[in-house]
């Protein structure tokens, strides 16, 4: 069989689950040495497609043709033998082991029967140097933040000399600087002749990196285009089946004079001398690199961690939240960064997730008022347009974007005055992102105040009224909307003052 230019072909792949058709006869050809992007809304079938390539999923029918070898299905081992490596959104790392040990997980370098730690550390360091990153390979993975763990995953795949590297939303938790470094690696991999399949929601990445892009929708392949001869609007239109007029919905609500939250001389949890104010009705964006301290600041405000010194005032009164419950009772809500681990109860229903923060409020004599609960859950399901077959659906069966909406619904139900959003659109497709932005606007129109942490420059510039930049635990910049400038914000974020 003459495969010529095509290194991987998926032919008419069909995969169904009870009640859902994940892949409906998908045919895709990946050319040797290209960077091939796959885009589509959540639930389009992208994850299932790559799982078919890596052997995590066995298709019901269809062929997987790698070079000249045809397979009906793959096992993970066969897939690896064929030279396919993958970086998933969810990490396969062991927290208790070091970075080097994780990179060589299952393939530890040995000297006879003993593990050659020195060699693993050396080789790991070499990989990180390619990133231009100074990371200690002997550091334990559990001490790393989400962003750095991603980097370890990428290093792991790179150490396996893959022929075809599949990257599933690899840049999601990375900041702009690290994304730039990653672009360089993708370039270098391409030079080495590695074929890359790249799944991302970030349009600018698609256009920067890919040679061709395939659009998927509802389990079908819609089209494959040459990246150079298409544009964002065409792609989005194909992805969602409708046109998006603007990426960021306009907002025209006056910000009130009153100050809702004031932070004075706050120290603790890695932060130093934090001073700022938020006015009622404002959307205050917090920009910065990973590790800058934004999530840590949110933890202090929400009562998860305690400050060493300094005061937080809410509506003029001293706020001393010793626990999340106190924060909630004071009208603060926190939608956390890692929704699977911290935000949602995956094994229980949409209804139960929605009510969980306010159960005591809707209970009389300790008994939950189920009618009220259903009302509230139904209200938010409609308001947030959560795609779920019914309220009793377990949240783990929903797509990422809808899981995020359920979590937001839970917090809206607690009727907060201040909502802290930590990376609210991470790993969410374009269509759902727009919905969340519109949602932020409607919340503001109802008098809520938003504190938004985001690593996506465009997002934070598009949504905030004001941006505060954090770097290494300190405030290094503050910008009003009219002064928003990508370079200046980045400069403040990278500022290392001592």
């Amino acid at each position: 069989m003459d495969t010529g230019n095509v290194i991987l072909k998926l032919e008419n792949i069909i995969k169904t689950y009870p009640g859902v058709t994940a892949l409906d006869g998908v045919t895709i050809e990946i050319n040797r040495g290209e960077v091939h992007a796959i885009v589509g809304e959540n639930g389009a079938g992208k994850s299932t497609l790559i799982k078919t390539c890596t052997g995590a999923v066995k298709p019901d029918s269809g062929n997987i043709i790698i070079d000249s070898n045809t397979f009906k299905s793959l096992t993970p081992k066969e897939s690896a033998n064929q030279g396919i490596a993958v970086i998933y959104q969810e990490f396969n790392l062991v927290g208790e082991l070091s970075i080097a040990e994780n990179i060589y997980l299952g393939r530890a370098l040995r000297k006879g029967i003993t593990i050659d730690r020195k060699k693993m550390v050396e080789k790991s360091r070499a990989i990180f140097n390619q990133f231009g990153l100074d990371i200690n390979p002997e550091e334990l993975v559990r001490n790393l933040t989400v962003g750095y763990q991603q980097i370890v995953e990428i290093a792991k795949a790179m150490s396996q000399d893959a022929k075809i590297l599949i990257m599933d939303e690899p840049s999601a938790p990375l900041t702009n600087q690290e994304v730039e470094a990653m672009y360089k690696i993708v370039d270098r991999l391409k030079e080495k002749g590695v074929t890359i399949i790249y799944i991302s929601h970030r349009m600018n990445e698609i256009f920067r990196l890919s040679d061709r892009v395939t659009v998927m929708r509802d389990g079908e392949k819609i089209d494959t285009l040459d990246t150079s001869s298409t544009d964002i609007n065409t792609l989005v239109k194909l992805m969602v089946g409708r046109e998006l007029n603007e990426t960021y919905p306009g907002r025209d609500f006056p910000i009130m004079e009153d100050i809702l939250l004031e932070v004075k001389d706050l120290n603790g949890n890695g932060l130093h001398d934090i001073n700022f104010k938020i006015q009622k009705g404002e959307v205050l964006g917090f920009a910065g690199l990973i590790g800058a301290g934004r999530t840590e600041l949110a933890e202090l405000i929400f009562g998860i961690k305690h400050a060493v010194s300094g005061t937080i005032y809410m509506n003029g009164k001293v706020l001393n939240c010793k626990s999340p419950k106190q924060a909630i009772d004071n009208g603060i809500a926190l939608v956390p960064e890692d929704r699977k681990k911290l935000g949602a109860h995956l094994d229980i229903s949409v209804r139960e997730n929605t009510s969980i923060a306010i159960l005591q409020r809707i209970s009389k004599n300790s008994v939950v008022d189920k009618t009220k609960e259903n009302e509230i859950a139904e209200y938010y399901r409609e308001f947030l347009r959560i795609k779920t077959p019914h309220l009793e659906q377990k949240v783990k069966n929903l797509s990422g974007g809808n899981q995020q909406k359920v979590i937001i619904g839970k917090w809206l139900a607690s009727d907060p005055d201040l909502i802290i959003l930590d990376e609210p659109t991470r790993g969410i497709d374009v269509g759902a992102k727009f919905e969340i932005y519109s949602l932020v606007n409607s919340l503001v129109s109802e008098g809520k105040t938003i504190l938004m942490i985001s690593s996506e420059m465009e997002e934070i510039m598009g949504m905030s009224d004001r941006i505060i930049v954090l770097s290494e635990g300190r405030i290094t910049g503050e910008f009003n909307k009219k002064d928003f400038d990508q370079e200046k914000i980045m400069a403040a974020a990278s500022n290392i003052e001592r």
Binding site: F302, P324, L334, K341, I348, Q360
Partner: protein, 304 residues
């Protein structure tokens, strides 16, 4: 379904099984198991375990016996003291588990051994008997045709179901068992939930102990031995996952019945006590294995 199979099996193989007296006996025997199962079910929902309940039953037995016989304390007061004691033991378990953040297995295992030691100290290894007449009613009396312990059992089951299905703190059991971090961030006081659950486990174990004492009519140091494993088996057979976050009281009833019928049937068939042990161990392992296999099936089917 398993229940039906067992029932039919024993009905066919033993002539004594279906007699009314036997069935009532079974009902009475499982009542202690059932009462303690509610507490154990709560603990399992939390993702924890309580190995101390057997010893709690023992010390409740010894304690009440001692109070009534050696200290002439009226039964009602003796029982109350015992219940306060067993609940406190449960609370201490929960407190240590929550505050020191120790694995429940280790904490309750240690309490189990310590409490058993205390029981020996109190009675010096010698059984205590000679209880006031009225006391026997709890374990041996009837209301109409129904043995009193069964009535207590039904009452406790109802409370258990009520807590889990209706109350807001019952929901918290599921939430904390399913995702402790997310629960904390949703404003749930996870430590308090743990105190409550382990206290309840101690409380229900205490009630089970009172019923047992009233049935056997003598305070013995071996009374609770191995009890915790029977309870654990019943609860897991009743579909409560050892991983936490999943299970219902209604199914626990089935689990309790299965154990009860199994034990009873095996005795009627004259199966040796040693073989019974092997069978019981095998049942526990299969039940948990089944639970884990179910869990694995579920994750491979979840569409991402």
């Amino acid at each position: 379904m398993v229940l039906l199979v067992l029932f039919v099996f024993f009905a066919m193989t033993s002539s004594a099984f279906l007699k009314i007296t036997n069935l009532i006996n079974v009902a009475r025997q499982i009542s202690m198991l059932g009462i303690a199962s509610v507490g154990m079910a709560f603990v399992l929902l939390l993702g924890g375990i309580d190995l101390s309940i057997g010893s709690v039953v023992t010390i409740v037995n010894i304690g009440i016996a001692w109070l009534m016989v050696k200290a002439d304390v009226p039964p009602v007061i003796a029982c109350t003291i015992a219940l306060v004691g067993s609940t406190t033991i449960g609370f201490l378990n929960g407190y240590i588990i929550a505050k020191v953040k120790m694995p429940p297995l280790i904490v309750t295992l240690s309490s189990m051994i310590m409490i058993e030691g205390f029981a020996y100290i109190i009675c010096k290894g010698v059984p205590i008997f000679g209880f006031p007449k009225g006391f026997a009613f709890i374990g041996q009396g009837y209301i109409g045709p129904v043995p009193f312990p069964v009535i207590i059992l039904i009452f406790i089951l109802a409370i258990g179901a009520y807590i889990l299905n209706k109350t807001y703190f019952g929901r918290y059991f599921y939430a904390v068992g399913g995702n402790e971090e997310a629960s904390k961030l949703s404003g749930i006081n996870v430590d308090r939930v743990k105190y409550l659950v382990y206290s309840l486990s101690g409380f229900f174990a205490g009630i089970a102990g009172i019923v047992m004492l009233s049935r056997t009519n003598s305070g013995q140091v071996t009374s609770g031995k191995g009890f915790e494993f029977d309870v654990l088996t019943a609860v897991v057979l009743g579909g409560v996952s050892v991983n936490g976050g999943f299970g219902r009281i209604s199914n626990v009833v089935a689990g309790v019945l299965i154990i009860g019928i199994l034990s009873n049937g095996l005795v009627l068939l004259n199966v040796s006590a040693y073989i019974q042990m092997v069978i019981k161990g095998a049942v526990l392992m299969s039940a948990v294995a089944f639970d884990c296999i179910q869990k694995n099936k579920k994750t491979t089917h979840a569409v991402n």
